[in-house]
Symmetry: C2
Subunit: 83 residues, 2 copies
């Protein structure tokens, strides 16, 4: 089994209302040293092993572009962990 | 400025309807080699620098427990990146 850990974040400059709400809540609770909060998605895919790690990488890239992100407003990065 | 990268995931055994929905969509699109999908939150906190990295760590831990996670069903991990 291989695991792909995908990190989806809003692109720079895109307003993050969820992040703003969390930041305001933190300030209200007294955590004044927080300058910014950005909330994104952390998706873990468990894939059947493939001897061809390049093919695995391409598959995950494709899945990220087609299903897991909205390319207009979101960026992604991922890492594949074998075994 | 320091950055804390927080990874929030559902505890093992907790049903993940969102992950199930993504998995079914991937199977429908022909990605049959996906065994499981778990969807969590990826939160990036930008904090004002603090010379005391231990205090910074404790603050982030506290924020995770009090605000960013539901300790009954979620686990968290984080890493602090300076500068």
């Amino acid at each position: 089994m291989a695991q792909a850990r995908v990190y989806v974040t809003l692109k720079k400059g895109i307003l993050d209302p969820q992040g703003e709400a969390v930041k305001n809540a933190l300030h209200t609770l007294g955590y004044g040293n927080i300058d910014e909060v950005r909330v994104g998605k952390y998706v873990v895919l468990t894939l059947q092993d493939s001897s061809d790690s390049e093919a695995l990488k391409n598959t995950v890239e494709e899945i990220c572009k087609k299903v897991l992100t909205n390319p207009v407003i979101e960026d992604f990065s991922f890492e594949i962990v074998e075994g």
